[in-house]
């Protein structure tokens, strides 16, 4: 059975070829329409996210949140948008004008681009390319470029610091992220997201829970959300890279960040939670869109939960967390997954899943043991007497005498 989107598409195609348009031109026009529909859908969703984010953070902080405009304040984001649209746009003096103006476009456009490869349903998907996973990494990297451009072009020290911190973060967290992404690719034997969803019987969260966790953490870091928000740490560098942006340009960064968070949620759902999979999806493909977004919003909630529960990490802690914890862990996980997968060729899915799950649990247990040993050593190091405190009185006299 078809789904409404493809039915409309086929109807339009027949209509256009009926008018005597060549097949290629019809395909082109339909593709343009598909892109416009998808992007508009995402941007409308983005407006809803503004409301959702504000409402949820309010609940986390024991407030009510927007509640004046419309029922539950759902008209609030539209008021926000009108405010952003009629605000004066200020370009700081000494800024690099062209780069300063392009940067916000990057912030939103790259996030929109990511959705081109995410399958919404068995039959609804923008582009089924066989390198989709790396495509996602690539667009993410280009998005980081927007932040660098914004920070550099603003002619502001805080903004530049923010840009540098962003890069340090991205540079560190992309390594474990790419390794973690390799695991679903290995399990599905494909880089295409549709193929990865097809291969998920059972969902990969059962086969590779650790990879899902690593991917989620590194994605939050790439998002620059708390606890990894040192690139815009309000209490340190005021707002980081977007400090000088006003009005709609700031709005684009804000919208880009929110949509990016949802994009990451959709990716986690697609890669590890079965994407559009759910009951009756084979009969009624359009249900897949519903399942995908239910899962995506669930993950989005988890991301918000993490954001409002953890304090910000220091930069040294943040880099250490990536290079000394996530990267080795991801590499060990990759090696074990590869060897076990090959060793269990021909095993039934149940045995396969149980062994993989057991391996993940064992690895978590081993990691916790290592961390406990490390914590014990560290506690002892901090607790022992420091040289400064043991200096004798004679030493002090000598020091003072020398002055």
């Amino acid at each position: 059975m078809g789904d409404p989107i493809n039915l409309i598409g086929d109807w339009l195609r027949n209509l256009m070829t009926g008018w005597g348009l060549p097949e290629n031109l019809a395909t082109f026009i339909l593709t343009v329409m598909g892109v416009v529909v998808m992007a508009s859908f995402l941007l409308i969703l983005d407006i809803a996210l503004v409301w959702l984010e504000r409402k949820v953070v309010a609940r986390f902080q024991d407030r009510i949140g927007p509640n004046r405009l419309g029922p539950f304040g759902i008209i609030q984001p539209f008021a926000d948008i009108i405010k952003l649209l009629i605000k004066e746009d200020i370009t700081p003096q000494g800024a690099d004008r062209i780069i300063y103006n392009i940067a916000p476009l990057f912030a939103l456009a790259t996030v929109l681009m990511m959705w081109a490869v995410i399958p919404f349903a068995p039959t609804i998907l923008g582009a089924d390319v066989n390198v989709a996973v790396l495509y996602i990494v690539a667009t993410g990297a280009v998005g980081t470029l927007g932040v660098i451009m914004a920070g550099w072009a603003s002619n502001n020290k805080y903004a530049l610091l923010g840009a540098f911190r962003t890069v340090a973060q991205m540079v560190s967290y992309e390594v474990p992220m790419v390794i973690a992404l390799l695991i679903p690719v290995l399990l599905a034997r494909s880089m295409g997201l549709q193929a990865i969803v097809d291969a998920q019987q059972p969902w990969f969260i059962l086969v590779a829970p650790l990879a899902a966790a690593i991917f989620l953490v590194t994605s939050i870091a790439e998002l620059g959300r708390a606890p990894f928000d040192i690139n815009e740490a309000e209490s340190e560098i005021v707002a980081g890279f977007h400090i000088e942006y006003t009005g709609m340009k700031f709005g684009l960064f804000y919208a880009g960040e929110l949509l990016h968070a949802l994009t990451v949620s959709a990716l986690v759902s697609t890669l590890f939670l079965g994407g559009w999979r759910g009951p009756f999806v084979d009969q009624v493909p359009i249900l897949g869109v519903f399942y995908l977004f239910v899962k995506a919003f669930l993950i989005y909630y988890v991301i918000m939960w993490i954001r409002y529960s953890f304090p910000r990490l220091r930069i040294d802690q943040m880099l250490g967390f990536s290079w000394k914890f996530l990267t080795p862990l991801a590499l060990v996980l990759l090696i074990l997954t590869a060897i076990l997968d090959k060793a269990m060729e021909g095993a039934t899915p149940l045995v396969y899943t149980l062994v993989m799950l057991g391996m993940n649990i064992l690895l978590v247990w081993a990691t916790v043991q290592v961390l406990r040993t490390y914590a014990r050593v560290e506690r002892r190091r901090v607790a022992e007497r420091r040289p400064v405190a043991t200096a004798t009185e004679a030493d002090f006299k000598e020091l003072i005498g020398q002055e």
Binding site: A39, M113, G126, V185, V238, A338, K342
Partner: protein, 118 residues
């Protein structure tokens, strides 16, 4: 396959148009009254001092270098993972050896202390 890349290509062209439109509307309706004080760079309420583009420390560069090398190595592994079905155990072990060489690099960097932020 061709149509898929056409989709991405058109998306690439149209994706900046949407935020571009959002930037165009304020141009038409927002007030525009710049003055030198308003367009000054923000810096804690006092006038900005010295160059913005100051020199940063070299450690950022080392991290970027390490990242580059790791990134290149891992990208090599993607085709290996995709072709996993057709690989004998021997070929899988080659991939594992490849990863282990990567681990040696990580351990070396760790041991040398470049992973410490100072």
């Amino acid at each position: 396959m061709q149509n898929d890349w056409l989709f991405i290509g058109i998306f690439l062209i149209l994706a900046p148009v949407f935020p571009g439109l959002a930037l165009l509307i304020p141009r038409l309706i927002a007030p525009k009254k710049p003055n030198p004080l308003k367009s000054q760079t923000y810096e804690c309420g006092i006038e900005t001092y010295g160059d913005t583009w100051v020199q940063f420390k070299a450690q950022y560069y080392i991290f970027a270098l390490a990242f580059l090398i790791f990134d290149v190595e891992i990208v090599f592994l993607y085709p290996w993972a995709v072709a996993f079905d057709q690989l004998p155990l021997f070929a899988v072990m080659e991939g594992v050896i490849f990863i282990l060489i990567l681990v040696v690099g990580l351990l070396y960097a760790w041991r040398k202390g470049i992973l410490e932020w100072v």
